[in-house]
């Protein structure tokens, strides 16, 4: 996907590279929708979470995404972002079993409704991931 953005900004550039590393298109859809409403908030979305925080070298995406998935599942009200980060976790190499372990813990600290809703989102993500394979079969 092409992206016409102020790549001269260092924070934006780092954020966009992190997005390209982990995103399956969902965050880029959020970004494009935001451009019509507030291009400034769209920019901040790239700069702060992805440029300043998620791209810090002390933790690579392979180890970072399980912690992100865990927290967003615990929130209980953030299914679109959970879907984004479940796709990201799969893209950077988290296994299905590892993500199941992470989501199962949601029942412990956020309760079964949050865990059930997280597993429902995971079910949809698994179907989306497998869909192209089936199509090409």
């Amino acid at each position: 996907m092409m992206c016409e953005v102020p790549l001269c900004d260092e924070r934006f550039k780092k954020g966009w590279e992190k997005i390209k590393e982990i995103d399956q298109g969902i965050l880029q859809d959020f970004y494009k929708s935001l451009l019509d409403i507030s291009s400034e908030f769209a920019r901040q979305l790239v700069q702060f979470p992805f440029g300043d925080v998620y791209s810090r070298p002390a933790l690579d995406s392979r180890r970072r995404e399980p912690a992100i998935v865990s927290a967003i599942a615990a929130l209980g009200h953030a299914q679109p972002q959970l879907r984004l980060h479940l796709h990201a976790a799969i893209k950077v190499g988290c296994t299905r079993d590892e993500l199941i372990e992470v989501l199962m813990m949601t029942a412990v600290y956020s309760g079964f409704p949050a865990a059930l809703n997280a597993f429902a989102t995971f079910g949809s993500v698994l179907k989306e991931v497998e869909a192209p394979c089936k199509e090409s079969a």
Copy 2:
């Protein structure tokens, strides 16, 4: 610490072993306080989170605790449990830098108040961890 509990129960036994692996005494204090109020809930606390979920072999404590810390920090209302799992994370080998990375992400998905409160708890935990060393110095 000694623990007079129904160790013949398989789930309790697994839970108690996990607790001994990760806990610095905080969960054991919760457990003892609960015994006076509801020994049944005390038993469930050992059996379900620690026996059924946290002791599953697919994820060892070293990789599990960062995801737990991440989620409990995101809740915003669970400082005693955050303190317990920050101590646990340190005990099983998570580094200070790794935990800082995890807590920093709280600002992204739960906002700065939750992140600030999590860092304040982390500050106390670091003092508790370093205190014995200083005493013995």
Copy 3:
């Protein structure tokens, strides 16, 4: 509905009996969807909430469901589970007036948005409950 599950497990068996007592099919749908994603979490869902907690004899379902509905409505982010327990409450004999009282209190401790969303879910449940009668008329 038939259910091919490990009924030799005591906790699962108790959980499944409680589910048959209270559920109108919604929990059983959750359970079946989960089987494809994580049969272990599906089993935990039956064993812990329904086998260990909801089936304890100290409180029968008739008195337990109003407290469950009250708490799940208060969460504000658990409409699928609220729908499940509103159906369960009606099945075990809670009256419409009693459930209205319970949902009305949501406005007091969780605010009007949570209460409005709970009443909207209750409206759908009431239509689902009355639909078969109309069909047979």
Copy 4:
């Protein structure tokens, strides 16, 4: 819109006048749906939030709605009510830029998932607001 309600009740009357001042029809739809489920809660919805609180003269709607939008966006689980108050804010004269400022702050205290969901709702509201103009063109 006509409204057959107990206008002799002073609190209801004040609440209904406030609703007519700010509402674009969404709250009135909530109210009508509630009438079939619990006319008492429908009445309380008009009397307490709108009659007792929002109509207090110390703060006019122009200054009140930004604070309401800010809090409801921060909740993260109240999109129908956020939509209602974004429309209300526009009706009483808040500018698009002012509402963007308010929603942008959501990222600071409630995190980016809540902020993203709030901006998505704001995007829909902006389309609804502009739709009639386009139709009449």
Copy 5:
């Protein structure tokens, strides 16, 4: 305790009677503290939750308090109000075992941190309840 309040107001009067029925002094302390900050909000606290909602005859306090305790425990951030309603529940005749059942369910829908914090508050309440007896012994 004496209370110099506008008892001519019907809603306030009903609210105050309900408070006298269930409260062990905690709500009355909240009320008095509020008088110095906003006497209007103090009045609303008596009028809406206690006058309009909790005093409705369709559910007596003996059946209402377990649902209130259940929801407030589920919130996770309302320990002062949980303490108030645990005392109220005991005053109106709920047994210790019934309240344990209610709090135990918190682990199911809000997770173990919320449940542990609720049991800790219940532990303090039980000590407060038993303290006078010991003193008089």
Copy 6:
């Protein structure tokens, strides 16, 4: 107060100026405590909320703080940050009556427990504000 920080950074500089405008010392205490734990997160705290968001010119602090107070009170788990912004609101000229209006609305969308806790924090803040005057009297 002196502050030895990288004032050459433009975002930090803007953030620090906003902090000096609104803060009564509480945020500066947060900042100093953070320096010992993670100087990077301390920097982000100044840069993102205060440098990027709160200092945007489209809304001055006089109009921004009521919306901040409203949202943080609605969260229910952020009393230290509520205290900080209640002091800030008073410093930038919000009146006591205006803040009471804002906090009173908390009961509508977050419920009475969150509102009561917010008013309790406001009570402490009012005492802190008035204390120096009394001392100098």
